[in-house]
């Protein structure tokens, strides 16, 4: 499709969506709900998307996408409210924002901090969308050349890297979480021969586990139990005045915004890791490259802009592998994948062939969602703050009831509730023992893809593993996987030093300060 045709589709989609009052109400409502989900500590963007999926069941695809993406964008931004006003991040993505946002609010500049956050989030999201629309067709065209060998390795790569990066304790725990997800995905009839695996003669398990109840269980129930068991409560809230966009400060930070966006998009596009890591990496990079790093942590606007631009830019990044490869870039994107499949869309390389306008439509919807987030942020901040005053002991029981209804409504099956409860309890204990939940969820989603492609690949090669080391993309992916695993070996620094010495690269590494 040429550029003019793309613009035409983009414009007509925007006009169609904007001409429907229902869509506009849903857009603003979903964005506002997203901000509240992000703002309330204990609730996450993933859980918000999971619960909203149920409500979009009867909608057409575009309206459903408006609601889901509106909530996603709003929730990533909404986490900054409690970060700035109470020093408690609403979502992990906004944790870095608290470092400078809260001190700024303590100085009586809470309104300024929120204004910077809101506009930086808008810019970040728009830049992410720009890269999404430019990169996606190329990635999808490349992916059309992939065979089962590459798809298997890609799935493995996603789970492995997600496990490696998201684990806050031992790396092996991240891998175990991913493997548990893969093991769970094998329940049900196998995709090639329909042989029942681990169904224990239970007809409810024949189709495998439904993704949405598993996700609601994995993200919702542990949050409720954790917050109420540990009596997590909010601190005293800082007051704030008028919220202004602060264009001048943002213009001064243009390099910071460009760099943070690229970090966000890059990290977002890596399967399984997303907004939370992007915020921290961007904050760290900005601090390291700043002329006055000592001011960071005392209310430095640069820090707020870096973290918020990056976490929102990673939304566009996370959607690149989701839409082109069918591999979610972040946990909320994983939930979005489930929602898209529910609406009859299977993201992957074939999406550009089967529905060539889909990517442009998603882009148009994302642009609308970004502006809805900005409008809500600028004009309804005071209302969001009112919601923040509701005690956890009141809103979390309501969330639990929504989890129950959400899990039931998708298949009208009580068995889904039993699964949600079981997964929820297991996920709670795993969480308590510092196992990351994202790789588990990615494993559940990518499991069937990995299983099917491994066996298809071996069928083609008649049981030979040689094509894995004969195809260029396979070699690349395999090398990255091996490298990731090697870096976690206890003797890796020793081996690295020996290799550097052997290759005579000492000077180069010394110059880089390594």
């Amino acid at each position: 499709m040429d550029i003019l045709a793309s613009f035409s589709v983009f414009g007509s989609t925007l006009l169609t969506l904007l001409s429907s009052p229902t869509n506009l109400i849903i857009l603003l409502g979903a964005s506002f709900a997203g901000i509240i989900f992000g703002a309330l500590p204990g609730l996450t963007a993933t859980l918000g998307v999971a619960l909203l999926t149920t409500l979009t069941y009867g909608m057409d695809v575009n309206t459903a996408l408006i609601a889901l993406l509106g909530l996603y964008v709003g929730a990533i931004y909404g986490g900054s409210y409690p970060s700035i006003l109470i020093n408690i991040p609403g979502t992990a993505a906004a944790a870095a924002t608290a470092l400078d946002g809260y001190p700024l609010a303590c100085k009586g500049e809470g309104g300024r901090a929120l204004g910077l956050t809101t506009t930086a989030s808008l810019i970040g999201t728009l830049l992410g969308i720009l890269v999404l629309v430019i990169a996606s067709p190329t990635v999808a065209r490349m992916a059309l050349e992939f065979t089962s060998f590459e798809f298997f390795l890609l799935a493995l790569f996603g789970i492995l890297i997600s496990g490696t990066i998201t684990s806050s304790d031992l790396v092996v725990k991240g891998w175990i979480a991913g493997l548990i997800g893969l093991a769970v995905s094998t329940i049900g009839r196998d995709p090639l021969q329909f042989f029942p695996r681990f169904t224990f003669d239970m007809p409810d398990l024949d189709q495998g586990l439904e993704v949405v109840p598993v996700l609601i269980g994995a993200f919702g129930i542990p949050q409720v139990i954790k917050a109420l068991r540990n009596k997590e409560s909010l601190g005293a809230m800082q007051q704030f005045g008028r919220i202004l966009p602060e264009w001048r400060t943002l213009f001064k930070n243009r390099n910071n915004i460009a760099r943070s966006s690229m970090i966000g998009i890059g990290i977002g596009s890596v399967p399984g890791i997303g907004e939370d890591i992007a915020g921290w990496v961007s904050y760290g990079t900005t601090k390291n490259t700043s002329k006055h790093p000592e001011t960071f942590g005392t209310g430095e606007p640069e820090g707020i802009i870096a973290s918020e631009t990056a976490n929102n830019a990673s939304i566009g990044g996370a959607l690149i592998p989701l839409l082109t490869l069918g591999i979610p870039g972040s946990p909320p994107a994983a939930m979005l994948l489930g929602a898209l499949m529910l609406h009859g869309i299977t993201p992957g390389p074939m999406v550009v062939v089967e529905t060539p306008d889909f990517l442009i439509e998603v882009t148009a919807i994302l642009v609308l969602c970004s502006f809805a987030m900005w409008i809500n942020g600028m004009f309804l901040a005071k209302q969001v703050v009112k919601v923040l005053r509701i005690p956890a002991a009141i809103f979390l029981p309501v969330v639990t009831l929504m989890c129950i209804l959400g899990s039931y409504a998708l298949g009208l099956n009580i068995f889904n509730l039993y699964m949600m409860m079981l997964v929820g309890i297991v996920a709670y204990f795993l969480n308590e023992m510092k196992y990351p939940i994202s790789p588990l969820v990615i494993g559940v989603i990518l499991g069937p893809m990995a299983d099917e492609n491994l066996r298809r690949a071996l069928m083609v090669s008649e049981g030979s593993f040689m094509p894995f080391i004969e195809r260029p993309v396979s070699i690349f992916l395999l090398s990255v996987i091996i490298l990731i695993m090697m870096t976690k070996l206890p003797k890796y620094p020793k081996y690295k030093a020996a290799l550097v010495k052997l290759l005579g690269l000492n000077r180069l590494f010394k110059a880089k300060g390594e």
């Binding site: 009867g58 092996v172 175990i176 093991a183 021969q193 029981p397 491994l454």
Partner: protein
């Protein structure tokens, strides 16, 4: 993380690793029963297309990772034997037990048997009252009453075939139960000067139930898990209003 907490984590890791190794071994053993090279549904299998291949692979990797975790945890515990182990307080475990009882009771006992609106109200009321009051005595009482009632409902679901009429009487009994619970909670709250918490609890439970049930059942046309004395009347009322509207 404090050294005591890290020690507690590593001790927990030992237990998890053992469970993981056991489950992974079971997974491999069970997978070996799947068709490996024999025929299934008229198709002669080769090992590389067998449905057992992927589970065996995953099971083996889980076994390996479990063994690594076990090794790391045992080495840590042995080399830091002098460090004490942090423990969760008894009160924290009680709150956990109450939370699990509330959610599991609702899912396994109330939702499959009782009209959803009634189940939602009583669940929300007791849940909010227990945690918003932050009173260990109330929490203990609610735990005992809710767990006993839920177990009773689970037993009824498992062993009794209920007719429409019997379900109607179950809903009536639940209505009485609800009234008793709300009244009981009020008397507890009055004694400990927490009447405000009681008011917030029943009002929130009522408002949320009134909003959520029609939203799902009438707005999104999602049939609720159990429709009885309240939901059926609500649906009937919808048709009465619709017919009246049409007649105008």
């Amino acid at each position: 993380m404090q050294p005591e907490q890290l020690m507690a984590l590593r001790r927990a890791d030992i237990k998890t690793a053992v469970i993981l190794i056991f489950v992974a071994a079971l997974m491999i053993v069970e997978s070996l029963n799947f068709p490996l090279t024999d025929s299934y549904a008229g198709v002669q299998n080769a090992w590389y297309v067998s449905p057992a291949l992927f589970p065996i692979l995953i099971g083996s990797l889980l076994l390996l990772c479990g063994a690594i975790l076990l090794l790391k945890a045992v080495v840590f515990v042995k080399s830091n034997a002098e460090v004490a182990t942090a423990k969760e307080t008894k009160a924290s475990w009680w709150r956990f037990a109450l939370l699990v009882s509330l959610i599991a009771g609702q899912i396994f006992g109330w939702v499959p048997l009782v009209d959803f609106a009634l189940a939602a109200f009583i669940f929300l009321f007791l849940f909010i009252f227990a945690f918003h009051s932050d009173n260990a005595v109330f929490q203990g009482r609610i735990f005992k009453i809710w767990t006993a009632t839920s177990i009773l409902l689970i037993l009824i679901s498992l062993f009794a075939e209920l007719s429409e009429e019997t379900r109607f009487y179950v809903d009536i009994l639940v209505l009485v139960y609800m009234a008793v619970m709300v009244w009981l909670a009020r008397s507890w709250a009055q004694k400990s000067d927490q009447l405000n918490v009681w008011k917030i609890s029943w009002k929130t439970a009522l408002v949320v139930t009134i909003v959520i049930c029609p939203l799902f059942r009438l707005g999104m046309l999602v049939p609720l898990p159990t429709e009885g004395i309240v939901i059926e009347r609500m649906v009937d009322m919808k048709y009465v209003v619709r017919d009246y509207w049409r007649s105008l």
